[in-house]
Amino acid sequence: MPELTLLQAISQALWEEMERDERVIILGEDVGRAGGVFVLTKGFQERFGEDRVFDTPLSEGGIIGASIGLALNGLLPVAEIQFVDFIYPGFDLIVNEMAKMRYRTGGQYSVPLVIRTPYGGGIRGGHYHSQSPEAYFAHTAGLKVVIPSNPYDAKGLLLSAIRDPDPVIFMEPKKIYRAVKGDVPEDDYAIPLGKAHVVREGKDVTLIGYGAMLHTCVESAETVAREGVSCDVIDLRTILPYDLNAILTSVEKTGRLIIVHEAPRTGGFGAEIAAEVAERAFLSLESPIIRVTGYDTPFPYALEDVYLPDARAVVKAIHQSMSF
């Protein structure tokens, strides 16, 4: 089984699905001739032709609007938004059209569209190449939101996303595009949307992460393991609909929960998880749920390292939780 980077696994999933299903097309800025700014779709246009891999004009509204129409009329578009920070010109089309099409047409029309987009910090990209806006999408009924943390999952989740009859925002942690490697089977496998993955088992504390922060969680778990503290580490994988069951099962065991994300704290998706768990596992909780998150500021440039949650911050939260 070949070892691939996260980026290669995503690329492979796309490639294979385009081979299998000619309804799948790719569109986005610079995805064709240049092969994408992250070189993720390199060679696609040569292989699949200019009528399946489209370089678009510089308009996210156009990309998303047209993709909705493409999906309404028999195709399975995979649209790339170069950085999620640039998705907002299409926000209206996402929130008011893509997310509501099936509902408002009484189920007559659906939008099987995947929007792939790199997100998150760690590449010194400042305000506009670092954002983590998953909470906006997770508050939008009608969308699915997926964030893989490793190559194996990325492939399986992307295949599920493309085959899903509803619109999916597929957010890729670009910081670890090349840094995280793993075995990826060459065959066709799908990882169901909405299912979390317990990547490490423990009994003292539950850590929840996704994307690049999952690795921060694992690193933290390894650190405290040396002190005798054992963590359940949950990779959420799908943010909407998220796997509340898996979280509750873990928290009922550990009694302690720490949620980690890069997005700003206030109104971040960690709040939803915390609120739900605090309500449903009220009697199981032995200490307050802690959120380790980005700060309530725009994403900075020079002080990026201060901004981003790191293992030190998570370990500190674990200590706090354990000593409550």
């Binding site: 493409l70 309404l72 009329n73 509501k100 047409t105 007559q108 699915k144 009859p165």
Partner: protein, 365 residues
């Protein structure tokens, strides 16, 4: 050193003059059945309008959007399409929908938000549509339909499907970014689409002159590298001919056309609006005189295709059709409570299943 482009916004295609006389060389020579069908389509639209406004005033429906004065734009354009072509519409083109097979009964079920509404009572009145008619239901945000329609047309081109897409929007909607991106993508990929702007000169209270300084809508096609056309939107034959040409061109692979159908919103924006707050009754009166239905009736009469008796019997037939539709729709119970939670996704997620249960309890209480 300037672009020095001249453009006369007053020039526009007209085939039938206000008195019903016809510019012979431009007459599309439709057969009598077709010509009568056009008339029926316009009169039906007007008949529904009159009843819709009354029903709302009586409090029997919540909201209504009239399209009085704009019947020729709707019916003439829709008539240029084949059955497999798609319409992506706004909220002011019921005439186009009827012509494509949306029944008046279905229209009123939507208006009433009844359990028999194809949209399951989920949208406001006047946001109709039906997949069976290849008529994508309208949403309220103006302009969003434009890039979506470009995508629909683009899909046809990619799939080598000969269908053409026609998208309706108003003059106000041309100010949205979506207008720009939708037309720009269409120009770049030369997709088989007709952009049909019903320039009724008002966007609620905003007159066209304050909407844009371009003088007309058709000229905006130049920004996207395809043809812009201006037609007399109260002349159904002109509308038909211009649209037919655009549809034929699209189908022949010659790309998009922007059609500006110059007409007038004779009624209020909707039943929530009182236009006397912002416009002159005299202007409205002038345009009432240019009634597209009357003009076309004059044309048919001159051709010997229409008589007072024809008029009377058609009106009676339409009144009956509309009465029956309204009765059926208003008598229908609302959608089941379950429908609140279905169609958010193809398969309801856990939270929706839970919430359905909660809602049942709430109502059961």
């Amino acid at each position: 050193m300037s672009t020095h482009i001249t453009f006369n916004p007053d020039e526009m295609l007209q085939i039938v003059a206000p008195d019903g006389s016809c510019h012979e060389s431009l007459d599309p020579d439709l057969d009598a059945t077709a010509l009568r069908r056009l008339y029926r389509g316009m009169l039906l639209t007007r008949t529904v309008d009159i009843r819709g406004m009354i029903l709302q005033r009586q409090g029997r429906i919540g909201f209504y959007v009239p399209s009085t004065g704009e019947e020729a734009s709707q019916v003439g354009s829709a008539f240029a399409l084949g059955p497999s072509d798609w319409i992506v519409a706004a909220y002011r083109e019921p005439g186009a929908a009827y012509l494509r097979g949306l029944s008046v009964e279905s229209f009123f079920h939507q208006t009433a938000g009844s359990g028999k509404d194809l949209l399951k009572g989920r949208q406001m009145p006047s946001h109709f549509g039906a997949k069976s008619a290849n008529f994508v239901p309208a949403s309220s945000p103006v302009g969003t339909q434009i890039p979506i329609a470009t995508g629909v047309a683009w899909a046809a081109k990619i799939r080598k499907d000969p269908m053409v897409t026609l998208v309706y929007f108003g003059d106000g909607s041309t100010s949205q970014g979506d207008f720009h991106t939708g037309l720009n993508f269409a120009g770049v990929y030369r997709v088989p689409i007709v952009f049909f702007c019903k320039n009724n000169q008002w966007a609620i209270s905003c007159p066209f002159a304050k909407q844009t300084a371009s003088g007309c809508v058709a000229v905006k096609a130049l920004s996207y590298g395809f043809e812009g056309v201006r037609v007399d939107g109260n002349d159904i034959l002109a509308v038909y001919v211009a649209t037919k040409r655009a549809v034929d061109n699209a189908r022949a692979g010659e790309g998009p056309t922007l059609i500006e159908s110059f007409t007038y919103r004779v009624g209020p924006h909707s039943t929530s609006d009182d236009p006397r707050r912002y416009r002159d009754d005299a202007e409205v009166a002038r345009w009432r005189e240019k009634d597209p239905i009357l003009r076309y009736r004059n044309y048919l009469e001159r051709k010997g295709l229409w008589s007072a008796e024809d008029q009377e019997s058609l009106q009676a037939e339409l009144d009956q059709e509309v009465d029956d539709a309204i009765e059926s729709a208003l008598a229908s119970p609302p959608p089941d409570m379950e429908t609140l939670f279905t169609d958010v996704y193809e398969i309801p997620t856990w939270n929706l299943r839970e919430q359905l249960e909660q809602a049942m309890q709430k109502v059961g209480q």
